[in-house]
Symmetry: C2
Subunit: 535 residues, 2 copies
């Protein structure tokens, strides 16, 4: 096995989710969002958090003001403000954007500098000497103001290929001016790992600590980052969940896990790495970007096994089928219920939920029922609570605490103060039948209110139930509005979160089914084993 | 720059979307789906298509039967059937699963063989010699039946690390028995590129054509594949869009584009590569797995630019900001309208849609309006048709061909034959006011029917409009059912597809808004420039 480099003493992780990550299509972060994410990053244990570009983006200016005013208390991480070298022909000391960097009151400032001659000519519209002067002036001004300065060499790799000596001059000028770390950026993301070593080594010859900043345009952001580390980079930039412009930045979660679990470096304490999955998902909740189930290490599917073939062997030894222990990153191995899986999977899944399905008859009957339902559009892979209801039903262990006799909901373009939707729900609890009306903006809200009111007298617990996520997906495309929709609802009672599924041609009906099952599962006598889906 | 290897004469791409890709959580493929995908793969120009595991999976058996019966005519690609070595202590000639491979009537058979000693002991429950005998017997039997045989060495890299000499013995036994290609599989996906070269070279010393099969558990599937190619592998396995179990397989689209555009190999004709984006999305439509907007090369965001900073420079020379020409893979550069973007973006976007926004006043007013709407939850990045309506409205160039005066929809748990939802829509076209009722399963369907009926007399065109995708997303999580939902509707008239957005606390209301705008945009006088969103 090729030996791996040992961790440099000063190795650090630099997160730029709040700045470069926020460039992602469809991603918008409020100041409150940024504060939440910064706290999560600190909890994860990154060394530096780039908060944004003060002066250039009002939101970012406000974020740094909030942080400086004490709204952001960081245990370990240092805050960094991002900015550019001073404008052509000006002075750093009098450049408003450079001043804004000082006003951000961060320990660290990360400056972007042009290192590709073409960009100097065509984007900056100046000459190569002035660009170097801009770097020297700005770095010296900021170090003079007591800042630790990092320099991002924009388009460094493309620049090196076009004009190696100038690209290296930019590294040298940054170092000479007092930059603590010079970061080599693959801004357009076109690099491959095999090209990294030579270029990073050439920059290393300048004799300054090097950083690496990669984008994923060739699908190699993580590998390019590791290749740069192998060549001596001691500072790694990336973003949570690989957020970023175009194809995104290097996923810092994956890089961190690779360095910790494959290289054997301790880049963060092990107990922090064990929070990676929950922190990654918490960040996704703030960014409103659906988590990628296939994300390495922390994805919902990252340790999920479907193949009936493996299912039996996994019983023998799970480690034969996973590249690392999922608990090290706070994830779990999951067996999937699906039409590709045979009885073995269903039985394993049953064990997971605390049901004995060793009886082949029963297991076969449940497997058939699952196959039928999945053929109709249901998916139990992501809805363990609904699967448990099906299981209990087949096992004759489902005593529904309530029965809905009837429901209806009206929505119109002429809302009252209470809303535009009016729902009626008629529920029987034992002998007692209750009808309730709910008014709200939205049929699901109205139905939720009506059902909640009808159940509350008998079941205090429902007051604690909250719908925390609601997803609708069309599952037969190209059929116009007759297409079947699948609704997934996540409900929480503060301790537990459970997922239920509803399917139909009618989004309201499917939503109602998922809502109904959410209340039903929540009101079942507490189970020994929680569904794997519960997080 | 490190020199890259030249393409070996016999280099080929082997797609396993239909077999290993189908292991992905939530993915289910019917025989019809598999036939569709196989045709798309052939159009893309892959050399081999692994169709499934005949005998082990009824669906796959049916697929090969359909293919053999002439339902699948391939221009270039060869079909391969996947299977395992014969059972312990048996004979390949009498093993029903081995027979099923022959019955599949494919030119190629790909056999999975154990190459990790622990898996031989604990999963197969036999000894190392019998495992070699199983390989020899099965390969010889199938070559005897006139099949070209490839061998997938399962868990090869973990096996090599545990017991290098045995792992190599498996490669040798496969080659000696007549295997044409021996494929090294990183089944658990724990490899890193830096470890690849040594192990692949060691296997290469056996003197047989090598293939590579990677999974993405370390986020390095593409890079690991390229590293193996650098070390001499001439056969690359992967899946469309990186589908696969856990974190997925190597994305064959990305690997292909890297080899073609970065290595300069012509693995497929250039005109095929130019179909990569549309074929990748067509496959996603069949798998029902939402395309990853950040997918390298072919993702919807892969060449999308958001930063106001770049927007102005991109005007100078787009190639300064992209790693390759997006048209080579059938993708486009897109400028995004978003609250991070300033006037420059809005103006570029206007140009794209064929509007002159050079007037700073107008551009600023539109930018403000966009900011307000995005603050309320709208997203125009993915809804160019709605953006154009906003643009025309601000420019006073929006003459709505119809005006909805009123609508309502009732949904209940007691459906009639016509459905469970009844909608009324009152529309004015010029002086003429029409009310129509629509009944259907689902409020959106009912509203669509009513609106369609009310508009048809005046506008024949609406008969050709079809809603082809409908997405609902909660955009304020943690607020229970009061959360705001964003609805995106894709409508097609056969030639064009356009996207509209609706936002509200009410999924029906938001859906209505998107539906209304879809009809409105579709009925506008035909535009010179189609929105970039139009595909």
């Amino acid at each position: 096995m090729t030996t791996l480099p040992v961790a440099p003493d000063a190795f650090h992780l630099y997160d730029t989710t709040l700045r470069d990550g926020a460039q992602q299509e469809g991603l918008r972060l409020t100041v409150a969002d940024k504060l939440k994410i910064a706290r999560l990053l600190d909890e994860l244990g990154v060394d530096f958090i780039e908060g944004g570009w003060p002066g250039a983006n009002p939101n970012d200016t406000a974020f740094f003001a909030a942080a400086a005013s004490g709204e952001l208390e960081l245990e370990h991480a240092k805050l960094a403000a991002f900015g550019a070298t001073r404008r052509v022909g000006g002075k750093a000391s009098s450049d408003p954007l450079t001043r804004a960097l000082v006003d951000a009151q961060t320990e660290v400032v990360c400056l972007v500098a042009k290192s590709h001659d073409e960009h100097v000519f065509r984007a900056l519209r100046t000459d190569l000497t002035e660009n170097l002067a801009m770097i020297t002036d700005t770095v010296q001004f900021l170090t003079g103001e007591g800042r630790r300065v990092f320099v991002d060499c924009e388009h460094f790799f493309d620049g090196y290929r076009a004009n190696p000596s100038y690209a290296l001059e930019v590294v040298r000028a940054s170092a000479d001016a007092g930059a603590e770390v010079v970061v080599l950026c693959d801004t357009n993301g076109g690099m491959l790992p095999t090209w990294m070593g030579e270029i990073v080594s050439a920059a290393g010859a300048v004799g300054v600590d090097l950083g690496i900043h990669c984008h994923n345009d060739t699908g190699c952001a993580v590998a390019n980052t590791l290749a740069a580390v192998d060549a001596g980079a001691m500072h790694v930039q990336g973003t949570m969940n690989g957020h970023g412009e175009r194809t995104g930045n290097a996923d810092l979660v994956t890089v961190m896990a690779n360095l910790q679990l494959k290289y054997g470096w301790s880049v963060v304490p092990h107990q922090n790495l064990a929070k990676a999955t929950s922190i990654s998902h918490a960040v996704a909740a703030v960014t409103h970007v659906a988590p990628n189930a296939r994300q390495p290490y922390v994805g919902h599917s990252a340790f999920a096994h479907k193949a009936g073939l493996h299912a039996s062997a996994i019983k023998v030894d799970a480690n034969l089928y996973q590249h690392t222990d999922p608990t090290l990153v706070g994830n779990d191995m999951r067996m999937l219920v699906s039409d590709m899986a045979g009885r073995a999977n269903i039985q394993l899944k049953g064990d997971e939920l605390g049901f004995d399905l060793s009886d082949r008859e029963v297991a076969a009957r449940i497997t058939d029922r699952v196959k039928q339902r999945e053929a109709a559009g249901y998916s139990y892979e992501s809805a363990d609570a609904s699967f448990e209801l099906l299981l209990r039903d087949e096992l004759g262990e489902l005593e529904a605490p309530f029965a809905v006799q009837k429901w209806r909901v009206l929505t119109s373009s002429e809302p009252t103060e209470e809303g535009d939707s009016e729902a009626t729900v008629k529920v029987a609890v034992g002998e007692r039948v209750t009808s309730r009306v709910g008014e709200a903006f939205g049929p699901l809200s109205a139905l939720d209110i009506a059902l909640r009111q009808a159940l509350t007298p008998a079941f205090k617990a429902v007051e604690g139930f909250e719908l925390i996520d609601y997803k609708v997906r069309i599952i037969e495309m190209g059929h116009g509005t007759d297409a079947i929709v699948r609704v997934l609802i996540d409900t929480s009672d503060g301790d537990r979160t459970w997922t239920t599924v509803g399917v139909g041609t009618n989004v309201v009906e499917a939503s109602w089914e998922a809502l109904h099952d959410a209340y039903l599962w929540g009101l079942l006598p507490h189970h020994a084993a929680e569904p794997a889906g519960v997080r």
